[in-house]
Symmetry: C2
Subunit: 366 residues, 2 copies
């Protein structure tokens, strides 16, 4: 079997495997979609970049970093020539590199908007890490820039490409344990000092922006609804040097149009990674719910609790996410987590902060 | 061994076994404390009355009911003569019955205050089921009446006499998994229609008064603190005939003085019975947390999750509760769950309802 024949089969197979995401079969034999990674921190270098090897349609073709040593080290590791290395001063020159189809922004939160917008202006599709940006206004500007450029914009909500979370969504929305009445969702970890996440000008906020957003996003994808009421209480010890400029813990309540209520935890001082969808007849429990690997699901129905074990997926969530945008580009379809999804989270995040600051429940308007 | 010798040893042994509750050794050979049960509903007849058999110091001596058939049936079953049967019209005559030391009020919530106060006025100690009453004002009146009578007042918080909950309190308060940062607590069940719990004039409220109070009470006993901020959101489908006069679900957030945050669920349309104390180094998880039997504890510390199994107690939580008040009477000590404990819950319950109704966070004043 020659290379192009193998490539065709691989492409077709992947299209079928992802049919659950609504992707149509991709055009065969097209070259893979080329990604530039912007920001070579630990998430980019340890989680994202190694997973291009598991992709069918995405490949890593360029690197953007302010640290020449990183460009050299990762350039060698991933066989990316110096012609495809960029500093931040060079960044807009990506426009002239036809190998780059997508710019994946993995910078500190407050830089997401600027670098995503400049990528769109350079004629590139954009993948942007969560949180999409640090304000609703920035999210709207990003969506506008990509739309104006006629390019796609997708947010890095990796759990949407992970089988247990996809199953939980399916089970919850079709009422496997009865109509959903309560969702509990907790995310947090004890954060170490001295990192950009604790520096408000870079992070835009504390635990909520970074890890609590998983609690929020899960309630939205598990319910399939947007909250109409938001209430929050913050607890931050400002004498803890980690929390001089950002919040530690912020708990929040959400009420959805169908009457679902969610209680959520966001914490930078305790470890949480779980959610539970509780219906009238039982619950769907995930713990851990959104890890890099090792998800565990239990279902209680009619009084009986059983674990639910899925076979290992052929493609992990990181590769699935990278391939999804590639397929959307190839097929002219919209990502399942477009900029509007990131914007929806930021709208609620702003309401959570406002609720905690003003001591009142915020009514969300459509 | 003759009867009195056996009785002495049994008494001494029980005193030692309960030393964890702060009880001192009871006076030996005193006659058991006599209880009158007021209200012969299912909780009284199925959970409380059968458990006098497991008590060392408490015995059932009188019954109060508006249903003559119940007086006859349970009188025969428990060998209680007609001289110790009372109707509600007769109730105040308990004053003249020296066999009755304690009146245990197991009536619908809105009747707790009146029947507790009349018991105190009749010169009796009072055990009252949770919720203590349906308002702070009623709780204060009950405390005043018992104090004026020079008699004890205790609230039926049975979990405080249950080994797993007592261990959880101990572990949480001494920081076994680090200082507590978050408590999550969920209680609820899908309620069946046509019962007094759904009739506001009798219940004083919906799920929060009945089952959500367990979520609240747990956060208070696990933290050992009183909340300073309270926020709540209610979700009730008023077209559901069960919820014409009382709330279905009401979720609430609490912040405590030390910075602990609690997220709590109260539901009449989904099943929940769990809490988790999350510290900086792990968590203490109870599910089910407050059942009649079958408690289960898991502890996560330094990344490792282990079940914690306790030996079966010599005395269950119901008998432990009945004996505790008996011992307090014998020893002249104060119950660990006096009227002030019920009042503290009602203060927060009123704030929860006010927060949900007014859409604002309620600041609790000392």
């Amino acid at each position: 079997m020659d290379g192009s024949r193998r490539s065709i089969l691989k492409t077709v197979g992947a299209g079928l495997a992802l049919s659950g995401l609504g992707a149509t079969r991709v055009r065969a034999a097209q070259r893979p979609i080329g990604y530039a990674i912007v920001g070579l921190g630990s998430y980019a270098t340890r989680q994202i970049m190694p997973n291009f090897a598991g992709c069918d349609h995405a490949r890593l073709v360029a690197l953007v970093s302010g640290t020449p040593e990183k460009l050299q080290r990762y350039g060698e590791q991933y066989n990316i020539p110096a012609t495809h290395h960029y500093s931040y001063a060079d960044y807009d020159r990506i426009r002239n590199n036809p190998d780059i189809d997508v710019v994946y922004v993995v910078l500190p939160n407050s830089m997401h908007a600027e670098y995503s917008i400049r990528a769109a202006q350079a004629g590139k599709h954009v993948m942007c890490e969560k949180p999409m940006a640090i304000s609703v206004a920035e999210c709207q500007a990003m969506i506008g820039a990509s739309r104006k450029a006629g390019k796609l914009l997708m947010i890095g909500y990796r759990s949407r490409f992970e089988p247990y979370n996809r199953l939980a969504i399916d089970l919850a929305r079709r009422g496997h344990v009865g109509p959903t009445r309560i969702i509990t969702s907790e995310h947090g970890f004890p954060i170490k000092p001295n990192q950009w996440r604790l520096d408000r000008p870079l992070s835009g906020g504390g635990s909520l922006m970074d890890i609590g957003i998983y609690s929020l996003n899960a309630t939205r994808y598990l319910s399939g609804e947007e909250p109409v009421s938001v209430s929050a209480i913050e607890a931050t010890d400002r004498s803890d040097r980690r929390f001089r400029t950002v919040e530690d813990r912020i708990s929040f309540l959400l009420r959805f149009p169908s009457g679902i209520e969610a209680t959520c935890v966001s914490s930078y001082s305790s470890a949480h990674n779980a959610y539970r969808v509780v219906g009238t007849q039982g619950w769907i429990d995930m713990e851990p719910a959104t890890p890099y690997e090792g998800h565990a699901m239990r279902i209680r129905k009619d009084g009986v609790v059983s674990p639910r074990v899925l076979p290992a997926p052929s493609k992990n969530q990181f590769a699935g996410q990278l391939d999804h945008l590639a397929e959307c580009i190839m097929n002219g379809t919209t990502p399942i987590v477009p900029g509007e999804e990131g914007l929806a989270d930021l709208r609620v995040i702003e309401a959570i902060y406002r609720s905690a600051a003003e001591g009142r429940t915020i009514a969300m308007t459509a």
